[in-house]
Symmetry: none
Subunit: 408 residues, 2 copies
């Protein structure tokens, strides 16, 4: 891996354009040992033709055997070491609901839970998986629990028993432990500081939790529901990553339909380009902004969604849908194109997985290999070999003629 | 990567001989998507026959996407981490002109430039690209600018507007900034120390620059030329690398026709074997010295030169020329042979590039693979897979039976 300081010392301004296309959860598995993967089963004449003119390979998003969440899967594609640049759950939760997180904000992922009113021990870590409607009403109520010491406390529903807590104010420090003991039969843990500077913030949050739990206990008693307490995890501030503009000297635009991916792109310093929900809308946005950026992150979400559903055919259909718009994208005449995913989501696994991602890299300066179609097996013998996501941006930069020689 | 301390703890004396053949800038690209690379187009029956008996692969000189200069490209071949062991421009410039750099010397790459006599701002960073003759005369003149505090100041012409400055004396420290602001319309910068120990050296060099610029201004006025000032970059001392004799317990000889490569070999502690300009002369030198060394670095420069010229056929012709002498080399019965390059120089790119290098490793103890010829595409599916230059020396050592078992 090339470190970001070296990269920024070598990066040069050029007129070339780089397009990073991320088909979320692209990598797949056969449903039967002899069968094709979703990508191999999909009819993708345009991707196949592009692969035949590209250099292909298989890429590891984080490390062998590691299943990436959306944060690490994308940060590594943007060239950040996904281990060093871990974005914690609180920040990701805030990004995932499209919350406009500020550098001073402290965010936490919250779960409503059930506790025994007598003993205080947790009886259900997810409060019987209460519905989103009740969850939203409880968030409304908790939003009224404010603290004199901070400017504002936000409590935002995520889904069902999940919420996001954001504290906004000066002097909030991260380095804080979770309250969720990850088991039942014990009480929630207090928030503790893992470094001295976070001591006051820990006490502040514990005070908020005391008040919030009182409110929840009263509401649960009154309305007869199981969500009489809550826990917090992944308390964190946004990590203050070096921005892609500084690292790569690229004007970067992100085209993504889901808040999570817009959020991760924002952490990397990209401009978020407003777009519609359909893939065609995203292509339209790409066209409209083509002249104003040097780098585009183009994200297609639904490949992953159908993989998580376990729907092999539907996942293949989303890939086919993307394939149909590829010629319109290539008509824009990018100088470098990468197509890959942030992680695999095999339909047979119904979740993110650790499997390597098929990747193609096209430019005028690649050595063509034997891969004649875009698929996991074709990429397995491709000229890129087995590569890592963090190495893709340096390769894209090189192919765009945007990296100076290292050493005289 | 195996670190050098581990390597030296495992290295053992043996009678075996290792031959590292570096065809400078070997890696190439097709001129058209379907076409061959320079190496693939070259008629190389001897390299092909050797490749068929070897294990082959593609090797990254520094890191994916990084285009190596000659320094890093060779240091990694000699087993040094090319990021940690960066040799700066001043030292490389001195090595490139064959200057016999001593450990206490401080070297800088110099450029003659033009400044506005009234305001002192730079108007041309390369002094109108003055010719080598004027450059040499100015160096002669600047050689008379000496300093009481150092033993000697050398000013040596490189080419056109480029020169090398070397200060020789005790107590010179590196950790110094460049004077070249990399833009016109602003004055040259003063040399600053990046660490306290270098403070005095910085002041010393600034004093030399004041005097040197006075001399240049007067000469330019008198003789009506644009080189009325100068800038310094990459001020540095030789990096004091551990020597290959200590790391590998090998007696190392270098056969190279250009000063730069002899210089880098010297940094690694090799003996520099005097040789003539032709490849045949280099082979003769190899024969003459065969009994006296365990390791030879055999460098063929012109492959790179023709790539930089953008002359595909001429680059292929140099490779063919080398192929013709290969049987004479193999007749010496080396135990391990590696053939590769320090970086790619595709004719279509006309410069060093980031592309992986074809590599073959021959010994009696390799697993032959399917590669039946020596070329980028054949190596793409070779048994070494995708490898890194820094790993080649450990493999050579192992194949030479010169590495003890690690751990009991």
């Amino acid at each position: 891996m090339t470190d970001l300081e070296l990269m920024s010392s070598l990066a040069e301004e050029e007129k070339t354009k780089i397009l990073l296309i991320v088909l979320d959860g692209l990598g797949g598995l056969p449903m039967t040992p002899e069968g094709p993967t979703e990508l191999e089963a999909a009819r993708t004449p345009n991707l196949d033709a592009l692969a035949a003119r590209s250099i292909c390979g298989l890429s590891t998003a984080v490390a062998p055997g590691i299943t990436p969440g959306s944060g690490p899967g994308h940060l590594s594609l943007f060239g950040y070491d996904p281990i060093k640049c871990l974005v914690k759950r609180g920040v990701l939760s805030a990004l995932g609901i499209g919350f406009d997180l500020q550098p001073e904000d402290l965010a936490a992922r919250g779960n409503f839970c059930s506790v025994d009113p007598e003993t205080g021990v947790i009886t259900d870590r997810r409060a019987g998986r209460i519905g989103s409607e009740l969850g939203a009403r409880l968030c409304e109520k908790l939003s009224q629990v404010q603290l004199a010491e901070v400017d504002q406390v936000f409590v935002k529903p995520v889904k069902e028993y999940r919420f996001t807590l954001i504290l906004r104010g000066a002097d909030l420090e991260d380095g804080l432990t979770d309250t969720d003991p990850q088991e039942t039969g014990v009480p929630p843990l207090p928030v503790k500081a893992t470094r001295p500077e976070a001591e006051e913030t820990a006490q502040l949050i514990n005070r908020w939790l005391d008040k919030a739990r009182e409110v929840l206990a009263a509401d649960a008693e009154e309305n007869d529901h199981p969500a009489n307490s809550c826990n917090l995890r992944g308390l964190s501030k946004e990590p203050g990553l070096p921005k892609m503009r500084e690292i790569y000297k690229l004007r970067c635009g992100a085209i993504a339909t889901y808040p999570m991916y817009r959020g991760v792109a924002k952490l990397a310093g990209m401009d978020i380009l407003p777009t519609g929900d359909a893939i065609e809308d995203e292509v339209e946005t790409l066209k409209e902004n083509w002249d104003d950026y040097d780098f585009f992150f183009f994200h297609v979400k639904k490949v992953d969604s159908r993989g998580e559903d376990g729907d092999f055919d539907a996942k293949a259909a989303v890939i086919e849908h993307f394939d149909q718009v590829l010629p319109d994208i290539m008509d824009l005449e990018p100088d470098v194109v990468i197509v890959t995913g942030d992680h695999s989501t095999p339909a047979i696994w119904k979740a993110h997985s650790w499997h390597e991602l098929p990747v193609l890299l096209w430019s005028r300066f690649i050595r063509p290999d034997g891969a004649r179609e875009f698929g996991e097996r074709a990429c397995m013998t491709g000229g890129l070999g087995h590569i890592n996501h963090v190495d893709l941006m340096p390769l894209a930069m090189a192919n765009a003629g945007r990296l100076a020689k290292y050493g005289a």
